[in-house]
């Protein structure tokens, strides 16, 4: 039994004063000598002893009420709270949050965390319920709310460290949801973590339900020293006709002393080079390896250092792949204007990241084979092909090939119903703005991938271009306008068809209707437009654990398997195998094109029937921010998420702080109620006595 505010017991003096006065008086006149008690004995007994007893009862009730009030203000609590508090205060809903971010792999942190989780599970007694939640970037409930300790123990025994970083907010939100849905009277969150500063942002906002108590079990706290490979960059250059790559690794040291480690570069599973690196205290050093030839196929690469207390960040994975070009087919009219496709093809031919392979075909010379393995088809003022070629093109679009339509002044009647259904807009009249110096692109969606590059200041000005003529585009409900002219007319619209994108540009791509090709912004605009429509994503050499792999945006990963299959992208069967061997079916597009890369190491993406090890490796690394083991006070977290700041507390092991115990038990409330009841009873009794005596 303890008290939060024992100073209130000084109030007992208030009870002692009348009693002391009574005792003093009693001492002063211990007895009254009287000649004889003969007459007093004749007075009925009730008038003497029973009256005294009743008044003693009143005195006792008053003293007890005062004592209870004082005890309530002193805020008592039971130290041995587990079973006693449970039986006294009612059942408890407990959410046990266990941090399984890879930083918990430091030294014996993970073992201690599991021990603490077992202790918290053993604290579930009687009608209590507990939910075990493991969290890293995202939380996952390992059990539903249960009173079965064996289930909790089983879940704890099966827990494994994650490769992800720490984020407290999602875990606390899940805990808040669980507690809010609970009908048990007491609610508690037990968070077991190393409390890294990087896991809790100042803007994170989550509140536990009112009355919920948060108990923290701090596994970290002691100064941690760690060496980590936090970054690898691959710089390419060209030596003759061969691409070379120079790998540079960034090694950080969070310790207070400089350390020297060996950094080794592995490519294709073979150690290529090893370097000794001295990393200053709380500093960074770079290990730059000698240039090497880029392999002909995507190859696994790793930079690793000597293992220390936290092995997870002692290696950094990446992939080396040859450059991949975006294949573009430009279809021009049989009788084109002079230089009609020149600006477009010239613009795309400039640049190597990515490289664009542009083929120009006349409308009447177009063959079905020309559509094979195309990332983008541009209909430069030609009508969409009909017949088998048209059908093949539509299939290719569904499979992921992009289509850029430049209608020019073509009559809308030349579009067959099949193509009208695929187009993002119907064609209207030609707008002639030659009399007012032409229209301008006044509004663009800078959040769209096409214009994302131009969102920063001085990174491209579309207002310098003039569109003297353009086609009135009437968009349908399932298409979007990503650029508008100054009169509000759509300049660029898009529509998603299957796995591909269909875009329509209202003006021309040469200087016939607009001077845009003469503006500096034209070249990057065409590049971004082609990359977007051609579903080209910058080939990432590595991903971060916890990232979501969106295959629909990484044509460089799925391209070989889709084009070879020659099937619909939405149904092309792929397999993503994790480093631990778990296989997940995926498709380049459609409903199953997303996968979470949660494990550190190399995933492998391959088509069905392709042997393991022959697919496209995908490197995944741990979040380098998690390598910062800076600790913060768990009370900050408790104060932020509980309604009453400071109600929760940091604790080592299972024992909770007095404030938290007292808050959870709220004995003062019961004492106060009993005191009030006593006062009411005392009032009734004293009134009756007064009436009887009157």
């Amino acid at each position: 039994m303890g008290f939060l505010a024992p100073a209130f017991f000084g109030g007992l003096i208030a009870i002692g004063i009348p009693i002391a006065i009574h005792l003093i008086n009693r001492e002063r006149r211990v007895v009254v000598q009287f000649p004889s008690l003969m007459f007093l004995r004749k007075v009925p007994y009730r008038s003497v002893r029973r009256q005294k007893l009743r008044h003693l009862l009143l005195l006792a009730m008053r003293c007890l009420a005062l004592a209870l009030l004082i005890a309530a203000f002193s805020r008592p609590f039971f130290s041995r709270h587990a079973a006693a508090a449970s039986s006294l205060m009612g059942a408890k809903e407990r959410v046990i949050l266990v941090d399984r971010s890879y930083s918990m792999g430091y030294a014996d942190h993970w073992k201690r965390a599991l021990d603490a989780a077992r202790s918290a599970a053993r604290g579930v007694t009687g009608n209590d319920r507990a939910t075990l939640v493991f969290f890293a970037n995202d939380p996952a409930a390992a059990t539903e709310p249960t009173a079965n300790q064996a289930r909790l123990e089983h879940a704890i025994a099966g827990a494994k460290l994650s490769s992800e970083g720490t984020r407290y907010e999602p875990a606390l939100k899940l805990a808040a949801q669980i507690l809010s849905a609970s009908n048990l009277p007491r609610k508690e969150v037990v968070m077991i973590s190393d409390f890294q500063r990087v896991g809790w942002g100042r803007r994170d906002d989550v509140q536990l339900p009112a009355g919920a108590v948060m108990t923290t079990v701090d596994i970290g706290g002691a100064p941690a020293t760690d060496l980590a490979v936090t970054q690898v960059s691959t710089d390419r250059d060209r030596a003759g006709d061969r691409d070379r790559v120079t790998v540079t690794a960034r090694v950080t040291n969070t310790g207070a002393a400089a350390r020297t480690v060996d950094a080794t570069l592995d490519i294709g599973g073979r150690a290529v080079e090893s370097k000794s690196v001295t990393v200053p205290a709380k500093g960074v050093a770079q290990a730059r390896f000698s240039p090497s030839v880029v392999p002909a196929a995507a190859t696994r690469g790793t930079v690793r250092i000597t293992h220390d207390s936290l092995p997870a960040n002692d290696s950094f994975n990446f992939t080396l792949a040859p450059g991949e070009a975006v294949s573009v087919l430009v279809v021009r009219p049989s009788k084109p204007r002079e230089n009609q496709s020149l600006y477009l093809s010239r613009a795309l031919n400039i640049g190597d990241r990515p490289a664009f392979h542009v083929d120009v075909r006349a409308e009447d010379a177009l063959r079905a084979a020309d559509l094979t393995s195309r990332s983008l088809v541009v209909l430069d003022e030609v009508a969409p092909p009909n017949g088998a070629i048209g059908a093949r093109l539509r299939d290719a679009i569904n499979a992921g090939t992009g289509l850029l339509v430049v209608p020019g002044d073509l009559p809308a009647a030349r579009w067959t119903p099949e193509w009208r259904a695929l187009m993002p807009a119907t064609l209207g009249a030609v707008v002639d703005r030659t009399r007012d110096a032409g229209g301008k692109v006044a509004s663009v969606d800078y959040g769209h991938p096409v214009f994302e590059q131009f969102s920063a200041p001085r990174s491209g000005d579309f207002s310098t271009a003039h569109l003297f003529r353009y086609r009135q585009l009437v968009t349908s409900g399932d298409s979007g306008v990503i650029a508008k002219l100054d009169d509000g007319a759509p300049a660029l619209v898009e529509k998603t068809v299957g796995g591909g994108k269909v875009l329509m540009w209202a003006s021309s791509l040469d200087e016939y209707w607009t001077d845009l090709p003469l503006q500096p912004v034209f070249l990057p605009f065409m590049h971004e437009l082609a990359k977007y429509a051609g579903r080209y994503g910058d080939a990432r050499t590595w991903f971060q654990a916890g990232d979501v792999l969106d295959l629909s945006r990484h044509g460089e990963l799925t391209g070989p398997f889709v084009t070879d299959a020659g099937t619909d992208a939405a149904t092309a069967a792929l397999v993503l195998e994790s480093p631990s061997g778990h296989r997940a079916p995926l498709t380049p597009a459609g409903p199953e094109h997303l996968a979470t890369l949660s494990e550190q190491g190399f995933y492998e993406l391959r088509g069905l029937g392709i042997a393991a090890g022959s697919g496209r490796p995908i490197a995944v690394n741990v979040d380098p921010k998690e390598s910062d083991l800076s600790h913060f006070d768990p009370n900050e977290l408790v104060a932020a998420v509980t309604a009453t700041p400071g109600a929760g507390t940091q604790q080592k092991g299972e024992a909770a702080a007095p404030e938290e115990l007292e808050r959870g038990q709220t004995l003062w409330w019961y004492l106060l109620m009993v005191a009030l009841l006593l006062m009411v009873a005392e009032t009734i009794l004293s009134n009756r006595l007064s009436k009887a005596e009157a």
């Binding site: 000598q33 009287f34 004889s36 003497v48």
Partner: protein, 315 residues
């Protein structure tokens, strides 16, 4: 100094000599009343009656025999000299005084001593034979009635008052010394050979029937009884305020008492007790008077004189 102040027991308490005190009281009282100091003395002839064999021949009126040649005996109104016996209760309850100063600061025993001394002196001036008996459960001191025993009586009273004042408080567990009228009065009655006026001064902490039973012995021998019932004002009004333990001076018994809750009932019990005593004593032709020790002594003297006057008419 006026007569009233002379009768104030508080003033009288300052007089150390009981003889002086008694004289002061009686003379002051008599002067205040302007009565004859010889009131009550009687040698008046009443009547003649025929001689009967056995009569004292000294009572024969020889002159009348000479005139009538018959024997007649002279009879007088009353005896001119009588025994005046004071019975003073000296039990522990008589030592009670309700206050340390002012009215009520005289104990019942002192008050009783004043009364006994004054009335003994007064009787002595009437040429009565005065005697004294003090008692609690038994006779404590006895001075037989005699016309020469006034000084002995006064000395005995003085000793009694001083010994009571110097006697320590009754220790707890000590044997009870509660007054019991039956035994001492029985002994006293046997010692009285002549018809006497017996004055009982006591606080009468006995049941009325027991008191009357004890007094019946005295009355049965032809003695005249006067009972002065002494009570302190506190015993009558019970003015206590604080709840505390009350201890019985006679038995040592303790009792927790909340005065405010039983004051009314206590007064009723006391009133009923005194009323019963008065009624039953009147039925037995015993003069009964209740005295508040905080009041002057004149009432006592008046009561005595009225009784003396009535007794003097008896033959």
């Amino acid at each position: 100094m006026n007569a009233e102040s002379l009768l104030d027991p508080t003033v009288l308490a300052r007089i150390g000599n009981l003889e002086l005190l008694a004289r002061t009281v009686v003379d002051g009282f008599v002067n205040g009343l302007h009565r004859s100091p010889h009131l009550g003395s009687s040698t008046d002839f009443a009547e003649h009656r025929s001689y009967m064999p056995g009569d004292d021949i000294r009572g024969i009126d020889w002159k009348l025999y000479a005139r009538t040649d018959r024997y007649y005996v002279k009879q007088f109104e009353a005896e001119t000299n009588t025994n005046f016996m004071v019975l003073l209760d000296v039990s522990p309850s008589m030592r009670y005084r309700g206050a340390t100063e002012g009215p009520g600061s005289v104990s019942k025993l002192d008050y009783g001593c004043y009364l006994a001394a004054a009335l003994a002196y007064f009787s002595s001036t009437q040429r009565d034979r005065v005697g004294l008996a003090t008692f609690d459960q038994d006779i404590v001191e006895y001075v037989p009635p005699s016309s020469k025993h006034l000084r002995l009586v006064l000395h005995a009273l003085e000793r009694t008052a001083k010994s009571a004042a110097s006697e320590p408080e009754r220790p707890a567990g000590a044997p009870s010394r509660a007054a019991a009228l039956e035994a001492p009065l029985q002994k006293l009655t046997e010692s009285l050979r002549r018809r006497s006026i017996v004055l009982l001064i006591s606080d009468l902490y006995e049941e009325p029937d027991a008191v009357l039973s004890a007094l019946a012995n005295v009355r049965g021998r032809g003695n005249d009884m006067i009972v002065f019932h002494l009570l302190d004002r506190n015993e009558i009004e019970f003015p206590f305020a604080d709840a505390t333990n009350f201890i019985d001076l006679e038995t040592g018994e303790r009792m927790p008492v909340i005065p405010e809750y039983l004051r009314t009932q206590y007064r009723e019990v006391v009133a009923q007790h005194t009323a019963t005593l008065g009624q039953k004593m009147r039925e037995q032709r015993i003069d009964y008077a209740l005295f508040d020790t905080s009041k002057p002594l004149d009432k006592a003297l008046f009561t005595y004189l009225l009784a003396r006057e009535r007794f003097s008419t008896a033959r």
